[in-house]
Subunit: 543 residues, 2 copies
Amino acid sequence: MAQGLRSFWGWGLEDKFMDRVGRENLANVFASLFGSASTNSRPLDVRDAPKVKDIEIADPRLIPAKSLKEFISRSPHERLSHSRGKSFIDVVRSFHGEFSDVPDLVAFPRTEPELMSIIDWCYSSNVAIVTYGGGSSVVGGVNCPSIENYQAVLSLDTTCLDKVLEVDSVSRSALIQAGVLGPALESQLKQFNLTMRHYPQSFEFSTLGGWIATKSGGHYATNQTRIDDFTQSLRVVTPAGIVETSRFPSSGAGPDQNGFFLGSEGIYGIITQAWMRLQDRPQFKDTVGVKFSNFGSAVDACRIISQSGLYPTNCRLLDAVESFQSAGVTNGNSLLIVGFESAHCPVDNDMKAALEICSDHGGIYERDSNKDDSKKANDSLTESDSWKSTFTRAPYLRDAIISIGHIAETFETSVTWDKFSEFHSQIMQRVRSALDETCGTGVVSCRFTHLYPDGPAPYYTVVAPSSHEDQIHHWSHIKDVVSSAIIELGGTITHHHAVGKDHVKWYHQEIPKMLLDSIERLKELYDPKSLLNPGVLLGSEGH
Amino acid sequence: MAQGLRSFWGWGLEDKFMDRVGRENLANVFASLFGSASTNSRPLDVRDAPKVKDIEIADPRLIPAKSLKEFISRSPHERLSHSRGKSFIDVVRSFHGEFSDVPDLVAFPRTEPELMSIIDWCYSSNVAIVTYGGGSSVVGGVNCPSIENYQAVLSLDTTCLDKVLEVDSVSRSALIQAGVLGPALESQLKQFNLTMRHYPQSFEFSTLGGWIATKSGGHYATNQTRIDDFTQSLRVVTPAGIVETSRFPSSGAGPDQNGFFLGSEGIYGIITQAWMRLQDRPQFKDTVGVKFSNFGSAVDACRIISQSGLYPTNCRLLDAVESFQSAGVTNGNSLLIVGFESAHCPVDNDMKAALEICSDHGGIYERDSNKDDSKKANDSLTESDSWKSTFTRAPYLRDAIISIGHIAETFETSVTWDKFSEFHSQIMQRVRSALDETCGTGVVSCRFTHLYPDGPAPYYTVVAPSSHEDQIHHWSHIKDVVSSAIIELGGTITHHHAVGKDHVKWYHQEIPKMLLDSIERLKELYDPKSLLNPGVLLGSEGH
């Protein structure tokens, strides 16, 4: 488990929220960067984090059955913490102490029978259940539904189910309880010299079950990377009964069993454990930063690498703005971070081949030609390291930006290579006009998080000046514009943030109508009273 | 299209059926090998192939609407050809002229509207539809249902939908009609310098749509290989409407769209076209045959290679019997055929690393140390080549064996590495006792077709003496024994032959009951009158 108290309103640990001095400096930076063009007339408005005691919260409307009380919390801190996820709008609302819908109860089942008894009680009492793992959803995936539709709402926190139950070192797989958070999972596997090597940005505050339910995008930039590829079998408790899929390396028998639950975002049931495919710990690693003066050439290099069969572990392209902001590249170049790792074989030849592709496309990199120590720092490595550290700190920085009344949020997609150039130019253009319309100015940047042979997964970050009063409607407008553009231009509404409630409108444009009907049919089978994660994926809340 | 007339009763082309002299020689070989131990008192009973004109076949019970006549055949040759697939029992029955259930009509729609008009007509007239691609199913997947349950039965042959419609060379993908057979697909892609590189043993006589509907296992022995991995999007005509999935490199939005149809074996609708991910044509190739005196050590080498991240294209392990029969290895060794290919980079380093793993496990191989010509034959290469040729000829050989009254059939599975050793020893033991009980003797052999980091896909071949009278019940007994053993010992009933009708009993033991219910719910949605592929996957025929 993470050390320290979890923030009830923002990302991660309470004491990692930037101090006031830091945030005042940040506000000044925003003022210098955007001051004159911003529509915000009050650029310096640094506010402090809310406190639980200042937030009014009604008593739980239902008292749980005696047998359940032991693992059910009614504490305001837990109820507020579990009321929503960590999207920009979630955090803004929480920061301002706006908690309209709060779960009445938070359950922490320690065993599957306890979890089943909660479902039974909720089913008998018309209590909605929102499954909550690490709570890191940025798409409304764990947000409390309108409480008036139910006798009560219960947040079902799975994080007490946090053990690695069995390790099969021969098949390199393990049976793992789904409520385990990333760091605890890795520390339990370490003693077996194994690793999941699945590091979403939310790693510290997300669970295995959450990764599976949302088809999490993983550590590897190429080849098999999504949690789907590493899920051998899973066990799901649904109101209609338990489903345990078969544990095979692969099967040609009917539709993929795990596929019924991968990406189902908790609307059918609660994943309690899974057999996962693991990795040996890497022994050979190399990372090189390659600079490109032309973003288009860097994109071409990425495409050729993605189709080369080289499978770099890392192949993240940062455009000029991201290279500057996240990796300290000051000459307007784009930075491609290319990394290889292997538990078994040296990676030098693969790296050499990938760097040749980069050179062919005008990429420039520096390597110590006499490199005899893989830890020896070089210019490129420093930039990659800098990016990595920025990556994990980003959500904390976003909370600081929220506290000074400005905007920092991301959106992401994937699109085939043939469409990318036009897609990207249109997206950049439309975000910029939306920024001009709302905030007066702002910055949008792009990086590739994952590469497939048939297309990249571009990830966009928007930073803009706003105000505490306008943050939400400014961002909502931008999000509307870009989401509609993504669908129109042939991208998916989400490559790895999931659908939740926030993407429902566009998801329903993306998915064929009959497949949505299919999901509804399965929902009726597994959750006939429609009490699980109301509003998620299907959009309709209540009955 | 394949050159020559398709056999109406056996595999492939009519004129490739072994001539009488060859089959007489084969019968003598069987007699020498098995004569004394066989329960068959009449070891030499070579019979000739049936002729269409000798088979009684009732007139079609329904005359199609006028507008459909143009692309609907009532010819006895087509109706008999389309009455079943190519499992051992299918071919034995057909060889003996036993055709109980024969489709009344065979439709060859040339466009999607024609296909839709057939479905409409069938739906209005209570006509069952069996979708038929190349007809190579070995699990009863295209077998005519009991005709008395329907006004008529129509076999819907998709092979006129055989064009590559659009090629996107940048994203390396193409929109392809689903009725195209393997060779025609590859020849159309060749002009774009692209390839699917998907070569099931049925390659010549199976279609893209069939591969998708049955989750075909592909060319690559490791890493991404199943047709699932190469399916970008697909279009399915169902009685309830058309579903066209979204074309993305990858998406985190809800359950995998293609997953609803991959492996659905035609029970929801007919796949008419798909966007498929393609490959560049390989420029670098190397194959080495490695011999192991100990099968268990070869298995260990396979496991380590499968977990190494090396991703050989080929990594097929033949046990001593298969090495002898298929690759001419006479010293009782197992043969591991290791191959690498790449369109972009030399494969020497990867090969070297894989061979080192083999050496570590006692593998012996010969390479010309001065190899300067990749085409230069060496001992090992010859064995691999020999195996390849055996691979494509195997189904013809099986038909010849059927014609002399004996048994040749295969079964396959996948199982995790931790279970493999016990699994394999039990399977071999139980097949041998089943052979003793039925045929008195026989041979069972094993190879690995695909390797996953968490387990192999073992493929077993059974050859045994029998008689024309006993072939079916002998094999049925053996198949029953091994199928039950596979489930009991933790394997899947099929790694890549699919479920069809023949595996239904065991599939229903393998799949969780609620997932079977799920498939039934979806069946009701897409095919409410239950007219598509009756009996396949779900097992129940009729209404």
